[in-house]
């Protein structure tokens, strides 16, 4: 239950961090941000990184800023930063509603938004947010910088398309237009447990019709994603029971659910149907 030995590096700048990552990535060098997933994995010795590159003291990575219609979230911004809305519009309220479902209060003081994305646990709430809202993920390396779209970032359970020498330096979320309604629902057996499934929905109502529908599902499949067929069931429809039921059915039908010893695929599929419907009802009632 004690982590295996490793070399510890504490760079002060992004340039130094990515240089260290380039030097040690091939030797199982890993980034240490909040450590709330990595350190337990190390305690179990499921991970034995030879080098840890601690980015907690890297200047500028703890920044939350708005630019170009997007909210930019730096690599060391903690979950707890979102307990109160970080921006006045619907996005700030959405993030505050979702963050309360992440683990527990002390974990949220250390764990980071970007760390959750890079870890890519299927049950991560932030991965569901990133997928549903089409986040842009900014990868930095000694080779330069590239922007990865969320749909091309998640690559199965605990896997992303980040190269081993790339640091997820920033996530950018669209500042949702005024009037955007949202709902978030997840189910787990106990408060704070990993969710068995979750649904994040967002839409606007224009002239009595739903527009810009987004439905993201997490926890049910190896990676969170938007469900286009479920969104299509909403766009142009009048908000209400019929449209919500159609979208929930479409989302459930689109699933290829994971199975585990406690939870069958069929159960997860049913759960997705229920969670999407409830999230849509919450959004409409807000």
């Amino acid at each position: 239950m004690k982590p295996a030995p490793f070399q510890y590096h504490a760079p002060k700048t992004v340039a130094d961090a990515v240089a260290l990552l380039a030097a040690h990535a091939g030797d199982d060098g890993r980034i240490l941000a909040g450590g709330q997933s990595l350190v337990p994995t190390m305690a179990f010795r499921l991970a034995r990184p030879a080098h840890l590159i601690d980015i907690n003291n890297v200047e500028g990575l703890d920044c939350i800023a708005e630019a170009g219609g997007r909210l930019c979230i730096g690599a060391t911004v903690r979950h707890a930063a979102f307990h109160k809305p970080v921006t006045a519009g619907p996005l700030g309220a959405l993030l505050s509603a979702v963050v309360r479902h992440i683990a527990h209060y002390p974990i949220r003081q250390r764990g980071t938004f970007c760390g959750s994305l890079a870890h890519a646990d299927p049950a991560s709430e932030w991965c569901c947010v990133a997928a549903a809202l089409d986040a842009e993920l900014v990868a930095r390396s000694a080779r330069g910088e590239r922007v990865i779209q969320a749909a091309a970032f998640f690559d199965g359970a605990m896997t992303t398309t980040l190269a081993e020498d790339e640091l997820l330096a920033e996530a950018r979320l669209p500042l949702l237009p005024e009037g955007t309604k949202f709902g978030f629902q997840e189910f787990s057996r106990r408060a704070g447990d990993f969710a068995i499934a979750m649904a994040l929905v967002a839409f606007r109502v224009e002239g009595g019709r739903i527009a810009d529908a987004r439905i993201g599902i997490g926890g049910a499949e190896p990676a969170a994603r938007r469900i286009a067929k479920a969104e299509a069931a909403l766009d142009g429809a009048a908000p209400g029971k019929d449209a919500f039921a159609a979208a929930a059915d479409a989302a459930a039908a689109a699933m290829d659910p994971m199975e585990d010893v406690n939870t069958s695929a069929g159960y997860r599929r049913d759960l997705v149907r229920t969670l999407v419907r409830r999230a849509l009802e919450d959004a409409a009632a807000a």
Binding site: V39, H104, P106, I107, R110, A191
Partner: protein, 160 residues
């Protein structure tokens, strides 16, 4: 084996010069190197909360941090709660409300609740219960812990 590093940890306002491997957790360092054994270690993977300490005022799992990461930060543990021989209002409330039995989880609960009440003295019941769900207790059934923290919150507000 990796090389050991000399660091200084500030625990309850007192500086401890210690020499640790990078892999040494803050929890182990507080107990074994600083000799402050009030902080308990239960699960060692962030689930039980027995090792909760305040890091710059915020409750964190000290088993999920390395000691080398805590240099220059203000660490508070259960030993720092009582002042001049008098228990803190929260500690007293735990006794008055039978919020502990075996006592193993108690330091973690005290630090968790201290951090939360200092930040948000007017915390509502639902939110308080959500926060207290962070830590595990096998004796009390939690009701008395909730009662004790609410009672301490009232005492602290009256004393402000």
């Amino acid at each position: 084996m990796t090389e050991k590093t000399d660091i200084t940890l500030t625990v309850n306002g007192r500086d401890f010069a210690v020499t640790v491997e990078p892999r040494r957790t803050l929890a182990d360092t507080i107990r074994d190197d600083c000799g402050q054994t009030g902080t308990h270690i239960g699960c060692e993977h962030g689930v039980c909360g027995a090792c909760t300490v305040l890091l710059d005022g915020e409750p964190v799992r000290s088993c999920l941090m390395f000691a080398v990461q805590a240099e220059g930060r203000e660490i508070r543990t259960v030993e720092g709660l009582a002042a001049d021989g008098a228990l803190s209002p929260l500690q007293q409330a735990f006794i008055d409300n039978h919020a502990l039995q075996c006592g193993f989880c108690t330091p973690g609960f005290l630090m968790l609740a201290t951090g939360v009440l200092e930040r948000d003295p007017d915390i509502g019941e639902d939110e308080l219960r959500e926060v207290l769900s962070s830590n595990l207790c096998r004796c009390t059934g939690y009701q008395n812990i909730v009662k004790a923290v609410k009672s301490a919150a009232a005492t602290m507000k009256a004393g402000r």
